[in-house]
Amino acid sequence: MVGNGRKVTTRCSNSETTDSPKKIGVLALQGGFREHIDILNKLGVEPVEVRSVEGLEGLSGLVVPGGESTTIGNLMVESGLLDGIRSFFYRGGAVWGTCAGMVLAGSAVMGRKQPLLGLMNALVERNGFGRQVRSFEKELEIGGFDKPFLGVFIRAPFFEDVGPGVEVLSKVDGRIVAARGENILVTAFHPELTDDVRFHEYFLQEVCGL
């Protein structure tokens, strides 16, 4: 805040003034979290690295970035963040999972047991498009976007099947690569590896309600 001292706020039950930027957490246990932070910084919110349950306090939303889902899952179990993020979400907190974050958001992974958040009624196929040599870029049609969005897929997952309450936003070769629920968004690709901020804006406006 610019100026001399705190602005007096009335009828505001929480401690934040209307002027202070909203805090968006980025899970920073492992993976591509800095890239999300760089973009969020440009969008007028305050990104916060989250490494512990306490770090979830006061957040208007949380990004679970790309990385290795098994590594992030292990570290979430150990730090208590697996339960912490679940209760953040079930209290209405907005969550966006990209790539590994999408895997973690799902309710089950094909052919494998690993710690998951289970925030979405969806069956996940990990590395669904193959190994790294098959990683690709592709212009995607996204539900609600007027122009295509460059999807960067890196050993990306897809949703094999989704339950009720999940809205599919985009598919590649019939496979679900972007979807949302009431307070959750998932993308199998990496908007944070492009200069296009539309998905970050979409998350802040449509999912976090900012």
Partner: protein, 303 residues
């Protein structure tokens, strides 16, 4: 390669893959059993090898790419990315590794170099490469050849972090120097002269000066044996850690692997590192640098 509107092998997907490994630990493994231990411990990828560097050092002889059967066995065993090493300049070993669909190739000084004059032309491949460097100029020369990820060389197989520290400082000091020049509104001529001194392309030097970081992810490798070693390298500016002999040459690989993963995530939190360092049993024994002659040093391979 473009097919059905899908572009594979772009530099963005190659370097992006390394971006997703950041904050993680990549472990050397020689078989499926070790690969599973590494995955369960929270490793972000494994490096499939026939012998870990400590054994290569002890046994001598020509060290080559792994037997494809070994690599396939390890790929079968885990879902995390599998990397493998090719000899410096041995582009056919790299072609074989690409055909096996390894997720990353390490053009590595740990193996015996196949070409004394040329590194592999890494632009010719769809699979990404990581290369070792001892200073900024070497890092930028590898990036110019198409490397999508850089790691410090350190001195592999020694369990001694001293060389990795020196190389990491060499790289980050070089970056800071360029960034400071850029802040002063440096003229092009000065950057051209820096590029000449670094023996690196001007465009890459300019990128580093303007952004204050390499255009690709920077990991550390070579001699990391303890959780504190890993955290030290992270505090010095590494974005992730390769651990070679340090895990499976130690007394309790499983616990040590988990502890190094934890120390890499919480590298700025001494209490967590202290907790993770407790009760790990013996680390690998390690070697003093003075015991290793210049000719025996692996970091001098490549240029």
């Amino acid at each position: 390669m473009a097919r059905n509107g899908q572009l594979t092998g772009s530099f963005r997907v190659k370097s992006g893959m390394a971006q997703m490994l950041k904050g993680g630990v990549i472990m050397d493994v020689v078989n499926a059993e070790q690969a599973k231990i590494a995955e369960e411990a929270g490793s972000v990828a494994v490096m499939a090898l026939e012998r870990v560097p400590a054994d290569i050092r002890a046994q001598g002889g020509v060290a080559r790419m792994s037997d494809p059967e070994k690599i396939l066995e390890i790929q079968e065993a885990v879902t995390i990315p599998v990397m493998a090493k090719a000899r410096i300049g041995h582009f056919v070993e790299a072609q074989v590794l690409e055909a096996l669909e390894v997720d990353y190739i390490d053009e590595s000084e740990v193996l015996t170099p196949a070409d004394e004059a040329n590194h592999i032309d890494k632009w010719a491949f769809e699979v990404p490469f990581v290369c070792g460097a001892t200073d900024l100029g070497e890092a930028l020369r590898r990036i110019a050849e198409g490397a999508a990820m850089i790691r410090s060389k350190g001195e592999a197989g020694t369990g001694n972090v001293v060389e990795a520290v020196q190389h990491m400082r060499g790289i980050t000091d070089g970056i800071r120097k360029l960034a400071a020049l850029s802040k002063n509104g440096t003229e092009k001529e000065m950057l051209i002269s820096e590029a000449r001194e670094l023996r690196a392309p001007y465009e890459l030097v300019k990128h580093v000066a303007e952004n204050g970081r390499l255009p690709v992810v920077l990991f550390t490798a070579g001699g990391i044996a303890t959780p504190a070693d890993a955290a030290l390298m992270m505090q010095l500016g590494a974005e992730g850690v390769f651990v070679g002999s340090g895990i499976f040459k130690s007394e309790a690989p499983n616990r040590r692997a988990q502890a190094i993963v934890k120390a890499t995530t919480y590298f700025n939190d001494p209490e967590v590192i202290a907790g993770a360092s407790k009760g790990l049993g013996e680390a690998m024994s390690g070697q003093e640098m003075s015991q290793i002659t210049t000719e025996e040093r692996l970091a001098t391979r490549g240029w």
